[in-house]
């Protein structure tokens, strides 16, 4: 694990990269990092996240800035900019049921090829997917998802990268931290090793590559 300046962290992410971003309607989203991606004028990102938040909040800032070519999300309904760009053909949107999206990411991070879920059987979600029966029940084969980068928001990070999350800001964060080649963490608080007790660590230090420095 290394500490990294905000501008250097954003510079690691090239145009066209796939990026998983933590947060649920902007809660638990690494805002400083997203602001810097906008400032550096990133383009053609593929953003994998629960939702697109709202204009001016979280991932909504990337959408408004035209930084995103494709988004894989479960809900975009509260971001009219996403809807507008999608209908204009400027933004590709792949809608995935929320429980399926998080399991596909979990599979990607846990070394699995995918998961079998009953969600979506007999709906448009089934289109193009393999249906597999197990003990008489139908499931869809949903393949694993990984990304080049995971942008994680944590409440506490210790000096070596152990992470602890707060309340409903946890959401996608610990799951995406397992599923990307490079994991960058923006923490509300950086604390000495030991402040987060072993039982309280949610994301263990070895999966974290960078922690944003506070200066």
């Amino acid at each position: 694990m290394k500490t990294i300046l905000l501008k250097d962290a954003a510079a690691l992410i090239p145009d066209g990269a796939s990026v998983m971003i933590g947060g649920f309607m902007g809660v638990g989203t690494p805002e400083r990092l997203l602001d810097e991606l906008v400032r550096q004028g990133k383009r053609n990102l593929t953003v994998i996240a629960n939702d697109n938040a709202l204009p001016g909040i979280g991932i909504g800032k990337l959408i408004s800035a035209g930084a995103v070519r494709k988004t894989i999300a479960s809900h975009i309904g509260l971001n009219p900019e996403t809807q507008k760009k999608m209908l204009a053909g400027e933004l590709e949107v792949d809608l995935v049921p929320q429980g399926t999206l998080i399991e596909r990411i979990r599979a990607g991070g846990f070394g699995l090829g995918g998961v079998l879920t009953p969600t979506g059987v007999g709906t448009v979600v089934e289109k193009g997917k393999q249906r597999i029966e197990v003990e008489g029940k139908p499931y869809l084969l949903e393949t694993a998802l990984r990304a080049d980068f995971a942008l994680v928001q944590a409440f506490l990070a210790d000096y070596i990268g152990n992470l602890y999350y707060a309340l409903t800001a946890r959401n996608f964060n610990p799951v995406i931290a397992m599923a990307a080649d490079t994991v960058i963490v923006e923490a509300d608080n950086i604390v000495p090793v030991g402040v987060i007790a072993p039982d309280q660590v949610v994301t263990p230090a070895p999966v974290v590559d960078y922690i944003l420095s506070h200066t």
Binding site: M25, D51, A73, P97, Q98, T119
Partner: protein, 216 residues
Amino acid sequence: MDAQTIIARRIAQELRDGMLVNLGIGIPTLVSKFVPPGVRVYFQSENGLIGTGAPPAEGMHHPLLTDAGGKPVSALPGASTFDSAMSFGLIRGGHLDMTVLGALQVDAAGRLANWMIPGKMVPGMGGAMDLVSGAKRVIVGMQHTAKGQSKIVRQCSLPLTSARPVDLVVTELAVIAFPGGRATLLETAPGVTVGMVREATDAELAVAERVCTMAL
């Protein structure tokens, strides 16, 4: 009593002590205001919270404690928080006793469409498909009609949320279940007749042997 209150009050009567319950946005959220006395339920927000409570007093909001719509909530004593994989494990894994959702259409067999209107409104399904596939009991709370059109239709023209039928539909006019895959009228709202419900319903509607009046 307005339509939303009738719906929310009637659905609240389905709550049983100790249940884990998920409420969708809109009318379903109102159900939490009418939990019967002596009944204690756990409300789950699918963004990762069990023990969701009413919004705190003005100025006491915690920015990292919200419901699935991103709105501030409180956490009741005994609450727990967890990540999204756990949250949907609870939903799909048979741990969620009841979900209450809104609807655009419900068909004569109880199948629900509530996540998109092609070409017009494509918000995404969010957690709805997992909730309908996974919850032990699925209840729809919605107004009976929209712009004069019945929302209980012969066949959904909109994309389905799940192939699994819902268990109960509660509107401001009626309570409808789907035994044997057939829409069946169980209860009417006070002052509403069976004929009025039939008139307002596009789907063919069977009528239970004894139709009760909602006890609100």
